[in-house]
């Protein structure tokens, strides 16, 4: 294990008595609790942490925050490997394993860095210009190669073993960002009586107070910040560190990703890895701070170049030396604070390069000058400093270059909501407008108010304003005043760039966009800021341009010869920083992807070895395969059992809606095609619901239980939509109708009892009801009871084509009922059957289902024109537009049956029907196969299909072509009803 050579003897916010071992690129190192991966790497002298996206140039740690462009690493191994994480945000923990990415074979010796030599070709719009021809090269050659060369990290490819959660929170005031302004805002809002949530993306709240040496009310600023969580909690503030507010949506709804266990080796059993919060806030205080502006000079990406504020953070917060000999360069007074902090840490200051000429020069301070070039490979070795007036150059040796280009308010979140920041000449940056918005208040550096004292004061004011805006009766008075040191020193002056240097000047470090790329794009006509972004990819990295945006706009303004204020800016979008897919999915994956609905007969069926199949949310019986039976064999056996004896099938999943009231019949008459007024009490009928455009929406049964009481059933899949439709018809179209409706789907469990012996089976359970054909004919219905007093609803309805009934009992009796039925039905050969058998029987009988009622078929198309007749005046839904030319065209495809000419040949559903002779083109297609099966009853393959002028073509032989399976067979067109065409069996 190597020593922490660059660690300072004292200071920092570290738990030094707890050293932490970790591994980086296969080598073990040591850091302390409180380190980030970046600060621990720095302590161990590691300077190159990644290779750049396009040119594979060596890159070092550039920042100490979530806008880090270079230090993207892969964390952990195996199924927990996570690519593209920021070393500057990853908290060090025992056993952490990290690896560099986008380099081959290693980060120190990366062969792809030859790209740098080819850079003349890798300019803006490179992809658009180069990889256009030949077309087929794109998928086979260009894309895979580019992906390997330019990719970032790699996903594990394995299922994530960790849990993720979603939570909801409501508050009066949400404070985003917990620097001095955010803490003060949360404090004063809570004191005013508001329910407050304070979120910050870092592990500790405090923001710049943790990184700079300040004083608040006589206490060190860092101590004040470290005390803040307990102080705020006592006021009732919910303090949420490690929580990134990623998105701001309508009605002040926020998405926030909390990294609950990312700082632990493995999440404990009771905790998720991350949690997605949805926070509804009456008012939000945006206190997201500001980001220091980088400087543009040749080689400004060399490891060792970093933001001055970040260098202070590493020295003060993490007690590490980012280098041994520093050049500090910039355009404002932060230079001198930085130099002082670095000196305290024992870092030699080679030069302070100040672009402002008014500064007094000293032994190290150079006024009116700027760094124009940094030289070095895996670390900066020296810089060239150019005098801005005379142009004289001098070379200074150093291994650290701290750049201070002024401050850029972090407007990302505001921009998401359409708040347009405006150019502020004094700050040389984009600043949000000062508005008295109803839903948000902007405070501190984010509002362009800098300096600890002003941030605290403005934050406190914002907190009170937010509480009042949230409807709190704020007591009069002022927030307690603060006395803080740390005046704003970042006001920029003078020039910030030396132009015309050879070599690469990077504007967007993460996407490798140079100043020259921007100039080229502008010359080629992509000078509008939104065009520039897409053409060069500037601002499209994980920080969305928070680091590069202002510099890019300045370069663009320069080439176009306009002020920066006229260039405009691009829009930031959610998420603020990348959110992992696991967090967005939460628990909605695998078994808990969505709820499962189980019928009252489920446990019984599971005991009997049912194979289930998903149908919407329901688990339905597919078949009851006996040992050694395939699905097809089981279904064939079940079909034979029904056709020769009796079977039972779960129909609990059908939608069941009761409609009651004096006008119930009116509504029924409106929503169902045909004429249902004449339906008498105690009778059921098959009926179609149409859409207003004349297409079939759903099919089911309508039963009149009493004069003003109807029970309607819908298909399983359409149950919810049908209910919504019926409510729409009642509440919106015919609100005056006097009726009520309620879904009783879950209240009643139902079985279809089908087969020639079904009457015998039912007679063993029904209490007092004459089931003889005379007393209870086909389509009869009754409220009755079974098994000595259990309420039941009985309807004589058939889908299978046999004598059949549907019987419903209350859910709580379902299990007892089916066990009784099973016992008593034994002597009649009662056999449970599933959807597979049902599917075969309905095709044999020519009954339509979802594959025929596909939203593009009319009643006539599916042979059910009789169900849509009705009196001339009938105004049911769908009638008016049914008469349109296209819907009554004799050329339309209508339902037919098909028999394979060779009975054993399978007909594939989806096959196109073609004339026996003729070409195999789409233009010649005569129709298509909608459902197919092997009929155990007919002992041959059959199908239902839609065929042009199908009614006239029974007997014709066609080809059924399935190009996907490369199969084509001959089929004979028949009536769609293969089995019992006179329907004698259902009436016996």
């Amino acid at each position: 294990m190597t020593q922490q050579a660059n660690r300072l003897e004292s200071g920092g916010i570290l738990v030094r008595e707890r050293p932490v071992e970790f591994e980086y690129d296969g080598i073990r190192y040591e850091g302390f609790e409180g380190d980030t991966l970046a600060s621990a790497l720095m302590a161990n002298g590691i300077r190159t942490v990644g290779r750049s996206f396009k040119y594979h140039r060596a890159r070092g740690i550039y920042t100490a925050g979530s806008h880090e462009p270079n230090a993207l690493v892969e964390l952990r191994t195996g199924a927990r490997r996570e690519p593209n994480t920021l070393a500057t945000m990853a908290e060090l923990h025992a056993g952490l394993i990290a690896a560099s990415q986008n380099c081959w074979p290693t980060v120190r010796h990366d062969l792809m860095s030859v790209n740098s030599a080819l850079s003349a070709f890798l300019v803006a719009g490179f992809y658009y210009k180069t990889f256009k021809w030949p077309r087929r090269f794109w998928t086979n050659i260009y894309e895979p190669v580019i992906r390997r060369a330019a990719g970032l990290g790699h996903a594990s490819g394995k299922a994530d073993p960790d849990r993720y959660e979603k939570s909801y929170a409501h508050c009066d005031v949400l404070v985003v960002g917990a620097g001095p302004a955010g803490i003060a805002a949360a404090d004063s809002a809570a004191r005013a009586g508001a329910r407050v949530i304070l979120c910050d993306e870092h592990a500790r709240i405090g923001g710049a107070l943790l990184n700079d040496r300040t004083e608040i009310n006589g206490q060190a600023g860092v101590e004040w910040a470290l005390d803040a969580p307990s102080r705020l909690s006592r006021l009732g503030v919910k303090v949420m560190p490690r929580t990134t507010v990623a998105g701001w949506y309508d009605d002040n709804t926020f998405a926030a990703a909390e990294r609950v266990s990312d700082h632990l080796a493995e999440p404990p059993k009771h905790l998720p890895r991350q949690k997605l919060w949805r926070i509804a806030a009456r008012h939000v205080v945006v206190a997201s701070g500001a980001i220091e502006r980088p400087l543009l000079f040749s080689g400004n990406d060399r490891p060792g170049v970093m933001l001055a504020s970040s260098a202070r953070a590493y020295v003060n917060h993490y007690a590490v030396r980012p280098g041994s000999r520093a050049v500090v360069c910039g355009n404002n007074d932060d230079l001198y604070t930085t130099a002082a902090d670095l000196r305290r840490a024992g870092i030699a200051i080679a030069a302070i390069v100040d672009s402002r000429s008014a500064q007094e020069p000293s032994d190290v301070a150079l006024a009116g000058s700027l760094v124009s070039q940094a030289v070095g490979g895996r670390s900066v070795r020296k810089v060239a400093v150019t005098d801005l007036e005379g142009g004289a150059r001098r070379t200074i040796k150093c291994d650290l270059v701290c750049v201070a280009g002024g401050w850029m308010p972090n407007v990302s979140l505001l921009s998401q909501r359409g708040v347009k920041p405006a150019w502020n000449e004094g700050l040389q940056s984009l600043v949000p407008p000062e508005t008295e918005a109803e839903t948000y208040t902007c405070a501190g550096a984010c509002a362009g108010r800098f300096g600890t004292q002003e941030c605290l004061a403005e934050g406190a004011r914002a907190g009170r304003r937010a509480a009042a805006a949230a409807g709190i009766d704020v007591p009069p008075g002022e927030a307690a005043p603060f006395a803080a040191s740390g005046p704003f020193q970042g006001k920029p002056g003078g020039q910030s760039r030396v132009r015309g240097e050879a070599g690469k000047t990077f504007v967007d470090l993460q996407n490798d966009v140079t100043a020259r790329d921007i100039e080229l794009a502008a010359r080629e006509g992509y000078g509008a800021v939104e065009h520039l972004k897409r053409y060069t990819t500037m601002g499209m990295a994980t920080d969305q341009g928070r680091l590069s945006n202002v510099n890019g706009l300045a370069v663009l303004a320069d080439v176009r010869g306009v002020p920066v204020s006229e260039v405009g800016t691009t829009t930031y979008r959610p998420p603020y920083t990348p959110v992992t897919l696991g967090t967005l999915a939460g628990h909605f994956q695998g078994r808990t992807w969505r709820p499962r609905r189980l019928s009252g007969f489920h446990d019984w069926a599971a005991e009997r070895g049912a194979e289930f199949v998903e149908n919407g949310l329901w688990m339905r019986w597919n078949c009851f395969a006996q040992p050694g039976e395939s699905l097809a064999q089981a279904a064939a056996r079940e079909v034979k059992a029904v056709r020769s004896g009796a079977g039972m099938c779960d129909v609990s999943t059908l939608g069941k809606i009761e409609i009651q009231g004096p006008d119930a019949v009116e509504l029924i008459d409106h929503v169902y095609a045909g004429n249902l007024r004449k339906l008498t009490v105690g009778r059921s009928r098959f009926a179609l619901m149409l859409r207003e455009d004349g297409m079939v929406f759903d099919d089911g049964t309508v039963t009149r239980l009493a004069r003003d009481h109807f029970l309607v059933t819908t298909t399983t899949g359409n149950a919810g939509r049908a209910m919504e439709h019926l409510e729409y018809c009642h509440q919106v179209l015919w609100p005056k109708l006097d009726l009520h409706m309620v879904s009783v789907t879950d209240a009643w469990s139902g079985l279809s009892i089908a087969g020639p012996r079904s009457r015998d089976v039912l007679e063993t359970v029904v209490d007092r009801l004459d089931l003889s054909n005379e007393a209870f004919p086909f389509l009869s219905a009754a409220d009755t009871s079974v098994c000595a007093g259990v309420p039941a609803r009985l309807m004589r309805i058939s889908y299978s084509g046999e004598l059949a009934y549907e019987i419903y009992v209350p859910y709580q009796f379902a299990e007892d009922f089916i066990r009784t039925l099973e016992e008593r039905g034994k002597e009649f050969g009662l056999c449970p059957y599933g959807l597979e058998a049902l599917g075969i029987m309905r095709i044999e009988k020519g009954h339509v289902a979802g594959s025929e009622l596909n939203g593009r078929t009319t009643p006539a198309d599916v042979g059910l024109e009789w169900a849509a007749s009705g009196t001339k005046s009938a105004g049911y839904i769908g009638r008016a537009l049914s008469a349109r030319e296209g819907l009554v065209d004799p050329e339309r495809e209508v339902l037919v049956g098909l028999k394979a000419v060779k009975p054993t040949q399978e007909i594939a559903a989806g096959s196109h029907l073609l004339n026996k002779r003729g070409s195999r083109t789409l233009a010649d297609t005569q129709g298509y196969v909608s459902a197919a099966c092997f009929s155990p009853t007919l002992e041959q393959n059959i199908a239902l299909a839609f065929l042009k002028r199908g009614r006239e073509r029974h007997g014709e032989v066609l080809r059924a072509a399935n190009p996907l399976q490369k199969r084509e067979i001959l089929v004979e067109v028949t009536s769609p009803v293969f089995y019992d065409p006179e329907s004698d069996r259902v009436r016996r």
Partner: protein
């Protein structure tokens, strides 16, 4: 986004489903000569920028159909009424 249902109170978006323009009127009766009015009713919709009256269904709550007045630019919800009474100016 949240909607304030007159019956259930302020509830999250997931409980509601959107249908569309609430200002269209179903032609009063079936008349074969009147197909044009029916085609307009079923297919033709404006796509206004600004205030828009639309139908939402509170399927995750009280099963009410609601008439929501919403600004398609700012997404501001100006009013939520029960559809059955919205036409006669009720609550």
């Amino acid at each position: 986004m949240r909607l304030t249902c007159p019956i259930c109170g302020t509830r999250p978006l997931e409980e509601f489903t959107y249908r569309g323009d609430a200002s269209v009127r179903r032609p009063p009766d079936f008349n074969p000569k009147n197909t044009g009015a029916w085609v307009d009713y079923v297919y033709m919709r404006d796509n206004p920028k600004g205030p828009h009256k639309e139908h939402w269904f509170h399927g995750g709550g009280c099963s009410s159909w609601l008439t929501v007045e919403r600004d398609t630019v700012s997404h501001e919800v100006r009013s939520v009424k029960l559809a059955r009474s919205a036409r006669s100016g009720g609550r």
